[in-house]
Symmetry: C2
Subunit: 334 residues, 2 copies
């Protein structure tokens, strides 16, 4: 299998992206990695260590920055590493594309450059959230806002397929993100989506609120991209804030500091369990190619995880399965 | 001043509501508390200890449960403790009303029974969120969904007035809850609200995302009630989940358990800082009377805090100020 990597995207690019690719290439000799970006810079980084047989460089003259306006950048920078990497998938030169760069630009480049699966209204981002049950897939995590009810239903369908094929969750349970459990709760979008979800081929478990999602009662959380993004960011923000408060409280007393040293190893281990780097990448679902979006802060470990995810997606033929699922047209729940 | 208390509302009613009122009555001899509910049950709870001069009972024959459908319950149970307590404010027999019962029913009973301030499109709930800067007021926290942009702007105006008068935050900075900082980010509602907020008499600091809210850059977070509720619940859920993971990790090793005992006092102190019981109540803003909504789980300490809030609101004449602010009509930013 062959994966195109936007080597210039992300806060730690190209250095850590290249290092991550070298690690992954050594671990998976059957996987060809094409580093897309400035040839000179990339060759420079590759020199010094023996070049693995399964790593190559594909030149791209431009780079899209983290702060660039997505739509504008994608239109103007057609020879950017991001656009070129996406085109490799569109042209069949690679089966998957990975970037830790500008998420909005990546979603736009992938949707425009590779195209949507026929029958899919909108592409969505599937992000993984740690929960008491292990993990849950949030779809959509920010690709699509101002959604129609039938789009949210499709996010649930795509998220369930992804959960089953890539996350290995058998018979995924699907919930609708809402502000209360009762079907009558919520806004006009959740009420309409709830009705549609009850009548489609999913193990639909009803509404879940912002607290329920962490209790692990469902494996897939279907929602508008605005809410999904809000859910992910506010839970990340809350966790960071409360841990910083806890650290401050603990280190304010002598015995607290002693205790803090003793609990540190356990907390480190726990942190690994919920670290984004362990998940590495979020899939953009609904496009005619495998698209794995890395966190902007991705270090080499996150790059390796994301590439492992891409491998899973390719070996489970996720895109073909998605196409089959939407080919009948009966999933258009509208 | 006189406060009507729905003594039958909440998971711990009437017992802890009554105990909380007795504590508050002793602390604030200038405040009359009217316990509204089943006379027999309430007199029974009051017997045994000497009855303070500033506590009385007002009979109401019905009770609205936590699971009752709000609109239906308010229409059908006009002699419920909740509706009767709201009517006391409408009739000028009390200056404020408190309930820890069914939030939806309380918001409906207050809006219908007391009425909105002329010029206010929709009432909103102002909930207080702990942040690195101390605290921020989230408006709306769940009273109103499917908002129009001008409603969100009014939430910002009411939230700022509340922050200044009740929370004591001078010159409150207002932010718009969104999924990115740039004005172009978000959905159709945030884009329109952003434009309106830039042109109104507020210290508007632009968009804040789910992570930013905890950093304390703004004092008031204006948003649709669906998002505000999602923000509050998901941050509460995330904090609970991550602390339970941390507890599990710490207690899984011997030295972790020893360290855990040493850090416990510091953590208890920190927990108090962010405990909802310290805030006690959320105000329903935009109605012609002071309405304080307690958490369903309110114990006596939370009841005392909520009554202290109500006192602040009364002594700062919050409702009259709100009426003056909207009397001109120029705040109708639409």
């Amino acid at each position: 299998m062959r994966i195109a990597v936007d080597a210039m995207g992300g806060d730690n690019a190209p250095h850590q992206v290249v290092t991550g690719c070298l690690l992954a290439a050594a671990r998976y000799p059957d996987t060809e990695l094409v580093l897309v970006g400035d040839r000179e810079a990339l060759e420079g980084l590759l020199d010094g260590s023996p070049r693995p047989h399964n790593v190559s460089v594909h030149h791209a003259s431009e780079t899209i920055g983290m702060g660039d306006d997505p739509a504008h950048a994608v239109r103007r920078k057609q020879d950017s590493s991001l656009c070129v990497a996406c085109r490799m998938v569109a042209d069949g030169e690679a089966q998957a594309v990975f970037s830790a760069g500008n998420t909005g630009a990546f979603a736009a480049a992938a949707t425009l450059g590779i195209g949507r699966i026929p029958g899919v209204h909108r592409a969505c981002i599937a992000a993984v959230l740690p929960t008491a049950g292990g993990r849950a897939v949030v779809v959509d995590a920010g690709a699509c806002v101002d959604c129609r009810p039938e789009w949210v239903v499709q996010f649930g369908i795509m998220g369930a397929l992804y959960a089953e094929e890539v996350e290995g969750i058998a018979g995924p349970r699907v919930g609708l993100l809402n502000i209360g459990e009762e079907p009558s709760k919520g806004n006009s979008l959740t009420k309409a989506a709830h009705d549609l979800l009850r009548n489609c081929q999913l193990d639909f478990r009803g509404n879940v609120d912002g607290k329920d999602v962490f209790r692990g009662g469902v494996d897939v959380i279907a929602c508008d991209g605005f809410w999904g993004n809000l859910l992910l960011k506010s839970s990340e923000g809350a966790a960071e804030f409360f841990f910083s408060l806890a650290r401050e409280a603990i280190t304010s007393t002598f015995w607290g500091r002693v205790g803090g040293l003793l609990v540190r190893p356990s907390l480190r281990q726990m942190k690994r369990r919920v670290d984004y780097a362990e998940y590495g990448g979020a899939f953009l679902l609904g496009v005619r190619g495998l698209v794995v979006i890395g966190h902007g802060r991705s270090g080499e470990r996150a790059v390796v995880s994301a590439l492992e995810r891409a491998r899973e997606g390719i070996s489970h033929d996720l895109v073909a399965r998605m196409q089959t699922r939407f080919a009948g047209g009966e999933e258009d729940a509208a």
